[in-house]
Symmetry: C2
Subunit: 241 residues, 2 copies
């Protein structure tokens, strides 16, 4: 087992090792991982110990267990993201992927904050994209997306179709970078002139600002995204206990 803490219980070592093997790409999203029996014999532990390890991985959403079929690497779907709380005025709740329109792509000198978020050095450049998310012709969100030019520079010259409809699969397919999770932050502000223009609203309109830092399995920041949407289309729901 590669560099797992030997003081930890065996089931945690096994959990960490399987997670590392997935992160390393030994099993990719959608793949079936080894069976319980195989893992039991290859790790040299009882099957109950393997079960304890994979139970935790399933709980954390890293794998999915399918009775009679096997255990599969789960693709991150960000179903809990703040984005899904944006609704059109009609408020019907079909789970659609809104269509995207990329307005611009450019090479920029990032701000201090963007550099900090992406872990860039003083001289590093960054790719900036502006994208609209729409549904039935109405603009839902206006997104400002920042990427390290060193990692993602070629994205500037790619065909737009290769970046549709979702960016994360494109990051994986063309750059081998897998978004494992993200940290999101939400606040309320008034729309600046360019944001208001893109959203089809008046300058100073109430907007929700969502920031997202997307991270890979090795905790490396991949993408910094600032999204704006009209506040009156936002309803967030959560259960607490």
């Amino acid at each position: 087992m590669t560099k797992v803490d030997p003081r930890l219980p065996r089931y945690q070592q096994i959990r960490d090792d399987i997670a590392a093997r997935i992160a390393k790409g030994e099993w990719r999203a959608g793949d079936a991982i080894a069976t319980e029996a195989e893992l039991s014999s290859s790790y040299g532990v009882a099957i109950g110990t393997v079960r304890r390890a994979v139970d935790e991985l399933a709980n954390d959403g890293l794998i999915e267990r399918a009775h009679g079929r096997g255990m599969f690497v789960r693709r991150a779907d960000f179903s809990t993201s703040l984005f899904r709380f944006f609704r059109l005025g009609t408020g019907d709740s079909r789970p659609v992927i809104p269509e995207s329109r990329i307005l611009s792509r450019s090479l920029e000198t990032p701000s201090v904050e963007t550099r900090a978020k992406l872990g860039l050095g003083r001289k590093d450049n960054a790719v900036r994209m502006i994208r609209l998310r729409m549904d039935e012709g109405r603009v839902l969100l206006r997104e400002e997306i920042w990427l390290s030019a060193r990692l993602f520079g070629p994205i500037l010259d790619m065909e737009v179709e290769q970046l549709m409809p979702l960016l994360y699969p494109a990051y994986e397919q063309h750059f081998g970078r897998i978004v494992a999770r993200a940290r999101e932050r939400l606040r309320v502000e008034t729309a600046s002139p360019d944001i208001a223009l893109d959203l089809g609203a008046a300058t100073g309109a109430m907007v929700v600002r969502m920031e997202r830092l997307a991270i890979d399995h090795a905790d490396m920041p991949l993408e910094w995204r600032i999204s704006h949407g009209l506040a009156d289309q936002f309803v967030y729901e959560v259960d607490v206990h």
Copy 2:
């Protein structure tokens, strides 16, 4: 075991039964429940099966396990509530319970919406309280609280001190009603004149509106609460994957 589905696996039956016994008040918040060995013999299953059941209860936050000491009924602390994302301008993050000031208590005819939320009949009255949550003299939140008059009527005549600093312990102590969980909803709006006045802001200021329906173990709604706070003091953070 009282009315648990016999088609379910034993460990789930046991989990449901223990949850029911807690809900029924057989063990109260802070109490130690029976030990694994006791549960194992009283339910007539192996200790591993009991462990599976209590593991799930601990995972759901209903009990806490303490190595060498026992298993304890957890008190709901609502640490994930939207409330905790309100910060003063200074943004320091000590976990304080803001002081409360109850502005009014009255018996009212509830609106159709309030009746629906609390499950009240056409002729039922309701208790309405207005409360401010403050920190260092600054108003953080303005809360409008609705309760069934049939269940909580005597609260109108109680000493204010008995309702301080938190309401949920008072519900439990004086009325035997335990808040088990809550559903919260967040949106953004502009402040009405009375809300603006209480928050010390101008009418039309951007505010965050938080609705909360608090529920007991038997899924009965206990309290309907509408809270408002200044939007520029609100920052919500969440991890997604």
